[in-house]
């Protein structure tokens, strides 16, 4: 080989090597910073992005014309890298309708993000920093309830509106400290919260519009959980432990009347959005059951599967999406699971109470995965389902139109 030819070959190889190193560097930079390089999308700081979207787009220039290089969005996809405090699948309220998007709150900084359910786009809609958010209630409208610990470890609850013009929160209001339980009315105009007092607890309904609050419930006990799914009222039940009796009551928000619905050991309960059905679990030392009761006919039956209340969500049509364990560690449910002692591996099913039909939705155990679902959300049109894996609190999304 001639000397000049060798030189050209070396230069060519050098250019190729530099190009490979540059592309590899960009890839690794994208991987570790999460910068998807797409203007107007994702986190401006590059701290967070769609784990399945941004990287590919950056690698191949993000050119819409390069569609052949963009793999399809998986049916089941990881939506976040980091722990989340709460989420919701929202359908845009426009004349044309629209496809759902996922709104979630990051635990580490309280920033709010939105991800299109069937696209790769992610946007940050609030960059107001609220560190260590333990729980976020995410209504469909543009506001949020943050729950976090103060420096003295008291529970703080912050009500904040998402500004449409800036990426910041506005109209922030702190609720009383140490709220024991809190839930949002189905119309999202009112909030029920329970605070501890010297002799027990008091439950208030706050009208977010007027700011007025009304005492609707008083109890000698403090360990209550609440759920306000249905226009019929607020479901209250004692915090559960296996083998220990508890009761569930329906509290009328208008009259304050309290009606006992069901009682039993280790009781947890949830009411359907219409108020027609009550789903409840009974946990004794030697058995665990899941029952559905038709509150209109008073008929009740054991569900064809067993799972924890927290692993289920109601739809607008009173059907239920549930994550049901196919593998579960032995021990005390539900409290051992709440403490993080026990883990399960779940699959997703849909249950139709009207016909007592169970439909298989998705096997979450494929590819060697293990998901222990502790929060589950579905949009009103049942196009997209989001769940949180309890162990790492990472959010995952499932395209229902691809699996049902």
């Amino acid at each position: 080989m001639k000397k000049r030819t060798r030189q050209i070959l070396i230069i060519t190889l050098g250019i190729v090597a530099i190009a490979v190193i540059t592309v590899s560097g960009l890839f690794l930079y994208s991987l570790f910073t999460g910068d998807n390089g797409t203007p107007g999308q994702g986190d401006p700081t590059g701290a967070r992005t769609d784990p399945f979207g941004g990287i590919i787009d950056t690698l191949f220039g993000g050119d819409p014309g390069d569609e052949e290089f963009v793999p399809p969005i998986p049916v089941l996809r990881q939506l976040t890298f980091e722990p989340t405090a709460g989420a919701r699948v929202i359908t845009p309220f426009t004349e044309e309708g629209g496809l759902p998007f996922v709104r979630y709150v990051a635990r580490s900084d309280g920033n709010i993000y939105e991800i299109e359910a069937f696209e790769r786009d992610q946007r940050r809609v609030s960059n107001t920093t609220i560190p260590s958010v333990y729980e976020a209630l995410v209504p469909e409208s543009n506001w949020m309830l943050y729950r976090f610990l103060s420096e003295t470890d008291s529970i703080e609850t912050l009500d904040a509106t998402i500004a449409t013009s800036t990426a910041e929160l506005e109209d922030t209001i702190f609720y009383p400290e140490n709220i024991l339980s809190i839930s949002v009315a189905p119309e999202e105009d009112r909030v029920f919260f329970l605070v501890a007092g010297n002799e027990g607890s008091s439950g208030y309904i706050l009208d977010r519009e007027s700011g007025e609050q009304e005492l609707v419930f008083e109890s000698e006990l403090t360990e209550w959980r609440s759920e306000w799914n249905s226009p019929l009222g607020i479901l209250l039940f004692n915090k559960p432990a296996e083998g220990i009796p508890g009761s569930a009551f329906l509290l009328s928000p208008n009259t304050g009347d309290l009606e006992e619905l069901v009682s039993g050991n280790g009781l947890t309960a949830s009411m359907s959005l219409s108020g027609r059905y009550l789903l409840y679990t009974i946990a004794s030392t030697d058995s665990f059951s899941l029952t559905i009761r038709d509150l209109e006919t008073r008929a009740e039956s054991l569900m064809p599967f067993t799972t924890l209340i927290e692993k289920c969500t109601w739809t607008e049509f009173d059907s239920l999406y549930c994550a049901i364990p196919v593998d579960a560690e032995g021990g005390s449910y539900p409290d051992g699971w709440y403490r993080g002692d026990l883990r399960t591996s779940d699959v997703l099913v849909l249950y139709l109470p009207e016909s007592d039909t169970e439909l298989f939705v998705y096997d979450l155990t494929t590819d060697g995965n293990t998901f222990d679902v502790d929060q589950i959300y579905v949009d009103p049109d049942e196009l997209y389902l989001v769940f949180r894996n309890k162990v790492d609190q990472v959010l995952w999304g499932l395209s229902l139109i691809d699996v049902l």
Binding site: S108, S132, Y134, P240, P245, S247, E310, R339, Q393
Partner: protein
């Protein structure tokens, strides 16, 4: 004289009417006067709403096993047969009244009759222990030995005569501890009682009977409270994220970062907060005592240099200085610089 005769006649007439009116009343529903008693037992003694109940009868005056027995519920014949001594039914909703009439016809004896009126009432005994659970914990605080317990009776009663829900202050609560009436804690509106959880291995039985002043409706409930051993659970804590309460750490625990804080949560100790001074935390690493400075004695920060690998046996003993029964010890083996064994 005439007046005396009139008085005498009036007296006789009154006596005759006094005995005849009940006979007429009974005759209206087709029953003969009761001449011999039936022994009736209702189970449960205080049925709840929409609950199955049973009634059994016995008699020492007739051969009940060969007698024809008819059961009427709210005036409708439900069952009849020879020796049919047991009837089962279901109570109605709160405020309802189920009347069960029993007619026993034995050879050679007048018909025996009895009537049972069942008015369902519900009462739930709810309790909570004054013990520690972490913020946002969804489960119940369990009682550990000698921890304080608050027990509340939550009745659901409707007066069948008026249809009204009696006010709590109008209800009479009678509390029973191991079948002994707690007179000082019983009375009008006394729906709450505080007690101490039993000693290790013990059990505490508590019952309550709730009734309206007119005794138109009553309900009963009982519960047994055991003592539970306190627990300690270790969780990862991140300075930004906070505590990861969804996953309790188990041995072997692999630390992947150069610094990791572990928080020990003392479930079910009789304290309001883990930093409470009555809780004594003794940490040991590989059996060497470790002093935790600062205001969080339940948090341990593990720091290792780069490329350091190894393992450490982290041992924690927690003692409630105010309650000698609340002591425990737990350990976790921590591996540095490795993702698996």
């Amino acid at each position: 004289m005439d007046k005396n005769i009139h008085k005498l006649l009036l007296g006789f007439t009154s006596i005759i009417l006094f005995f005849c009116i009940p006979a007429f009343a009974l005759a209206q529903v087709g029953f003969e006067p009761i001449e011999e008693p039936l022994y009736v037992r209702v189970f449960p003694e205080f049925p709840r709403a929409n609950e199955d109940f049973s009634i059994t009868i016995d008699s020492f005056s007739v051969d009940i096993d060969s007698a024809e027995i008819a059961w009427f519920e709210n005036g409708i014949l439900k069952e009849e047969g020879v020796g049919n001594v047991r009837y089962t039914g279901k109570t109605g909703a709160l405020g309802s009244r189920t009347v069960v009439q029993i007619a026993v016809t034995a050879r050679g004896t007048p018909q025996l009759q009895e009537e049972v009126v069942i008015v369902p009432g519900n009462v739930s005994l709810l309790w909570e222990a004054q013990t520690y659970t972490p913020p946002f914990y969804l489960g119940k605080a369990l009682p550990s030995s000698q921890s304080e317990i608050k027990v509340v009776a939550k009745p659901s009663l409707v007066n069948p005569q008026t249809g009204a829900v009696p006010r709590d202050s109008d209800l009479i609560y009678t509390w029973y501890e191991n079948d002994r009436v707690l007179g000082a804690h019983s009375g009008y509106g006394k729906n709450t009682i505080t007690a101490l959880a039993p000693l290790p291995g013990g059990r505490y039985s508590l019952g309550v009977k709730v009734t309206t002043a007119s005794e138109a409706v009553s309900a009963y409930a009982e519960t047994t409270i055991l003592d539970y051993t306190p627990l300690v659970r270790f969780y990862e804590e991140d300075p930004l994220i906070g505590k990861m309460g969804g996953k309790a750490l188990k041995s072997p625990y692999f630390v992947q970062t150069s610094e990791q804080t572990i928080v020990a949560e003392p479930f079910f100790f009789s304290v309001a907060r883990p930093e409470n001074e009555t809780l004594s935390y003794s940490w040991f690493i590989n059996d060497e005592p470790l002093v935790i400075s600062g205001g969080r004695p339940h948090a341990l920060t593990l720091a290792v240099g780069p490329d350091v690998t190894g393992e450490a046996d982290v041992n924690l003993r927690i003692q409630n200085l105010g309650n000698i029964f609340q002591t425990l010890q737990d350990r976790i083996t921590v591996y540095f610089g490795a993702s698996s064994l």
